[in-house]
């Protein structure tokens, strides 16, 4: 599903954020990217959704070399990838329903599909009944659930989560992790960057550890360290 082949990413010509990184993620896997702040976790996620191109090496997603992809095909790639962020990136002037519907609207889904899919996914993330609230009327955990709903509403093949529990207390974070596990069980491949030791240690999933842009460990059923 995802493959990095000797990938090097250099920012502004002198910051090497990732050095000669390679790994292979089969379909349906749940994988943690761990490492201290600045070690290159977010960089990997941004390479996977083609926000950036690497200076060297190849990135394969869903059978395509996305560095060689035409600019016009990037939206198609992104429709197969859901994104979740530490700061949720919700639109504050839109309701819960509208935030999730927006993701379908802007890829041109017709209204009847939106009316059917959005309540379904809001139910899945446990936000039934809160469709008309605005983000600032929700707790952090609830806001992150909205963002999970938005990422998952068009059933992507891959979910990229960048420190999704970073702003949440442990109990709330655990709720989000349960949700991601459930989504992973539907066959969605999940790549999650985190430095939350408790979560990594309790889940016993594959762990790729980074240190200053270099992969120093790649372990199945691993722990944080």
């Amino acid at each position: 599903m995802i493959r990095l082949e000797n990938v090097t990413k250099i920012y502004d010509g002198d910051v090497t954020a990732l050095r000669d990184a390679s790994f292979d993620i089969p379909k349906g896997e749940f994988i943690f990217l761990v490492g201290p702040s600045g070690s290159g976790k977010s960089t990997i996620l941004r390479l996977l959704n083609r926000q950036y191109k690497p200076e060297r090496g190849d990135v394969w997603v869903a059978g395509k070399n996305i560095n060689r992809m035409r600019e016009g095909d990037v939206p198609k790639l992104r429709r197969q990838i859901g994104n979740i962020f530490q700061d949720y990136k919700l639109l504050l002037n839109k309701t819960v329903f509208e935030n999730v519907a927006y993701a379908l609207e802007v890829i041109g889904q017709p209204r009847h599909v939106i009316r059917q899919q959005v309540p379904q996914v809001l139910d899945l993330v446990g936000l039934a009944g809160k469709e008309d609230r605005f983000p600032n009327q929700l707790s952090g955990g609830e806001q992150q659930r909205v963002s999970v709903a938005r990422a998952f509403v068009n059933r992507p093949l891959i979910l990229l989560a960048d420190e999704p529990t970073g702003n949440l207390d442990p109990a709330t974070g655990e709720g989000i992790m349960k949700l991601l596990e459930a989504i992973n069980k539907t066959g969605t491949t999940i790549v999650m960057a985190t430095h939350d030791q408790m979560i990594v240690n309790s889940m016993r999933k594959r762990v790729v550890q980074l240190d200053r842009g270099v992969i120093v460990r790649d372990q199945t059923r691993g722990v944080y360290e």
Binding site: G72, L77, R78, I81, N83, K89, L91
Partner: protein, 307 residues
Amino acid sequence: MLSRVGYALRETWQGFQRNWTLTAASVLTAAVSLLLAGMSFFIQKAFDQVLQQWSNNVQFVVFMKPDATTDQIEAVKSALADQQASGVVRAALYSGKDESYEEFKRLFSTNPTVTDQLTAEEMPTQFKVAPASNDSAVINNLIAQFRGRPGVLDVRSPAEYVKVISKLSGFIRWVTTALWIVLLGTAVGLIWNTIRTAMFARRREIEVMKLVGATNWFIRIPFMLEGLIQGLIGSAVASVSLVGLNVVWTGRIKSVTAGLANVKDLALVHFIVGGGYVGSIVVRLIVLGALAGAVGAGIAASRFLDV
């Protein structure tokens, strides 16, 4: 498809509401520049018509001195008749003191202080002469023959006026064209700035749209539409003003020339630009306005989406 159109229109409308001061500035600049463009086309057309008319019936005027004797006038008259008989002159029109005075009174009918100061006695007698050929050598030769005759004050050929008028029209054309192009450039810049500001204000939405896989065109279209509509409103305002100005202008000329003999020969009436041509200017203004809007917004949108 329908939901996409609805989405684009809704976003465009909201863009206007969010940014109405910048929008108003863009629209006004576009309107002023396009009005100027319209006036420039209009003036060109009016001058072209006048020059066309003049060069179509090349003629010169032999002005007699106010104190020329009847004999001197008759001598010029018969010399012209001879030239007409030999085919050098196509037509010669005599205009005596009284005819000249009547025409003069009508032209200045709204201004009695002018008409009171002159009497029929002081009006010059004149001959309007239409040469058969429009070869300038032949005409100049003819003019020279009459210039020296006793009782002749002067011979004036419109060739001189044509030269002056076409120089003047060339100058006006140049200035107005330069002015409207600069102003239209400013309008494009203002529209560009409005759209850039609108996109910056909505950068979070744009980020989310890109991440969920909206195409660049999908993101761009409401903004481009916003710019396009700004340009179009500008051209609508300019078109309405231009048509209004044309109505006033035509009315003025018609009231000044009303009741005059030989109205068709007057240069003034050829400054009236017909409704059909004004219509074609309006079409040009709409195209220019739409282009200005689309270009300004297009540059803003693609620059913003690149980074």
